[in-house]
């Protein structure tokens, strides 16, 4: 039956190609959603991990990096550096600002850094070296058509864009980077802070431990010795942010994935229905020749599974293409369309959908009258 199925598919190339294309498009869509989820988690993870350091010190009780407020007292840095095993600490400040231009508003997370924790992937220009210089994520640059040398106005304060970075966006929000010289000017000269006392000067400290020291042990010591601070390993903080992302995006994306699976099953069901209808006469002849419903169902199943199997690589290719398109036009989103786990899962789902879809015309096959073979 498999052989007949394959030959039948080859005998109707346009229909077969259309079917494979449509199933591939559904798989691509599923892979894009999976990739969107995986990409969002990866962005959250890299936002923490790209800051470097062996331990991250935050306000006591704060264990997330993004979408939270952490304020460390100024003296905390000296206190942390006094802890045994700490080699150096690098301050980081995170502040959310809204960028508005041409009627379009975009929230930005500005990361202020000193000698570590800046952007690690600058695709044009350079790191900010002087005051009033800023590095922006390429998503922001692209959204507003701005680049190196252009002016970026935040809260009535003009920055010069010194560089554009990649892999610096998370939670649909582009990051921007400036140094502390700029921060002080920004606080004093802009409207961003009505009272300097209310604004955080240090949010986090990225801590390097001495050679041979255990970062987990150093983190415990910091938390114990500096009461205003909490200390956590970067990968733990990254995991916390990913967990937050999972709470935020998981239910919605899973709902959309669920809808996609239903579409997939319906579409494959429809294809198989149409295939059975188109071959009703052939199936009638087969029934007359002595093939029973089980044989015919096997044939339809073989066709559905073959279609899915052929659609999988095409779907992956489409997903890669679409992910590249999204990256080109809206780099604030990262779509990791070829995560092995998602690929395996989607491949498996494609087969399951094919099996479910192949059951759609079961009733038609069962009711098929072998006597139709006598009709001209």
């Amino acid at each position: 039956m498999l052989y007949l199925t394959l030959r039948n598919s080859l005998a109707r190339p346009a229909r077969s190609i259309l079917t494979i294309l449509a199933v591939a498009a559904i798989l691509a869509e599923i892979l894009i959603l999976e990739g969107f989820l995986a990409g969002s988690y990866a962005q959250l993870r890299q936002t923490v991990l790209h800051r470097g350091g062996d331990v991250i010190v935050s306000q006591a009780g704060v264990s997330n990096f993004l979408a939270t407020r952490s304020v460390l007292p100024q003296q905390a840095r000296a206190e942390v550096e006094a802890v045994k095993g700490v080699k150096a600490s690098h301050p980081l400040t995170s502040l959310a600002v809204i960028y508005e231009k041409n009627g379009r508003t975009t929230p930005i997370i500005v990361l202020v850094y000193d000698d570590a924790g800046g952007p690690i992937d600058i695709i044009s220009g350079r790191e900010p070296s002087g005051p009033r210089e800023i590095v922006i994520d390429r998503a922001l640059a692209q959204r507003y058509g701005i680049g190196v040398g252009d002016i970026l106005t935040l809260a009535d304060f003009d920055f010069t864009i010194s560089g554009v970075s990649a892999n610096t966006a998370a939670l649909f929000t582009p990051l921007a980077f400036m140094n502390y010289d700029s921060l002080i000017d920004f606080y004093f000269e802009s409207d961003v802070a009505s009272d300097i006392a209310t604004f955080p000067l240090i949010s986090f400290l990225s801590v390097d431990v001495e050679n041979g020291a255990d970062p987990a042990e150093v983190a415990r010591r910091i938390a114990k010795q500096v009461p205003s601070a909490g200390a956590i390993l970067p990968h733990e903080m990254a995991s916390n942010d990913v967990e937050m992302g999972r709470e935020l995006l998981g239910p919605i994306l899973n709902l959309l994935l669920g809808i996609s699976y239903v579409i997939g099953a319906l579409a494959i069901g429809m294809f198989m229905f149409a295939a059975v209808r188109a071959q009703r006469k052939s199936f009638g002849v087969l029934r007359a020749l002595g093939f029973n419903t089980r044989h015919l169902v096997t044939g339809v199943l073989a066709e559905a599974v073959t279609t899915s199997v052929l659609a999988i690589p095409l779907g992956i290719l489409m997903a890669v293409g679409l992910a590249a398109l999204i990256e080109a036009y809206a780099p604030v989103y990262l779509v990791l369309a070829t995560e092995p786990a998602a690929l395996w899962r989607t491949g498996l789902i494609a087969i399951v959908l094919a099996i479910v879809g192949a059951l759609a015309p079961l009733q038609t096959l069962r009711r098929l009258d072998p006597a139709t073979a006598f009709r001209g």
Binding site: S282, V285, R287, A288, G290, F291, N292, F374
Partner: protein, 292 residues
Amino acid sequence: MTTPIVQASKVVKTFGAGRTLVRAVDGVSLEVNAGEMVTITGPSGSGKTTLVSMLGALLRPTQGAIVIDGIDIASLSEAGLSALRARTVGFVFQSFNLLESLTVRENILFPAHLAPGGMPAAAPHADDLLERLGLGKRSKALPRTLSGGEKQRVAIARALINKPKLIIADEPTGNLDSKSGQEVLMILHDIARDQGRAILLVTHDRRVEEVADRILWLEDGTLRDRKQESHDWTNDPVCNMRIDSWASLIFSDHEGVRYNFCSDKCRDRFTADPSKYLRETQLAEQSEERKP
């Protein structure tokens, strides 16, 4: 005494219910033995297809019994019927019904999938059939490139691949030109005679009368046996169409003589004014007699 391959006793098949009930086959009994070629003929809508569908284990009768190769089909499930067909019955259809995507050889071999040993075991037989039916050079061709006669020979080869005891052919010459039709009938005849298979043929083709062992006439669901030689040709007095008075059911008696008609319309015209048509008939007969 030989055991019949197919045995039908008082078979009734009805469709619908209540006021829409149709008795497609009404109390038919028949036996077909090995090596016998039996033709069923009759007007359109007489129930021929329904009858052969039952005799080929495609349909179960509403009443009566059909025994194929010793098995009462009423006792079989759908799957059992399929298995019986695969093993015992070969079909040849008017519209060939070849699988368009498969080559000639693949089409012939396809039912062997259901036989013990499968396609590999049947391959030599398929090649033999290809040669015997003159299809050796067309074995890799696709059905759409074949002539009607070739298609029907492929269908016959396919029907024979599992060496069935019974072959049912439904109007096998219906879509063929006269030469190909003759060829097909002779092939079927040879299969019955040389291979001892029972052949049940539904056809309107008059040439079959020359080769068939028995001819059965089915009309309004009932079957009448008829000897091959028992024709009684006459002419419709209205339209002058040649009619077998043995088989005709439309007739009218006038002055002690029975006249047969091709249709109710001709009969009505005749009964309205018999003398008009009888005069014409006499004139025609006289002119016929005057010819040297």
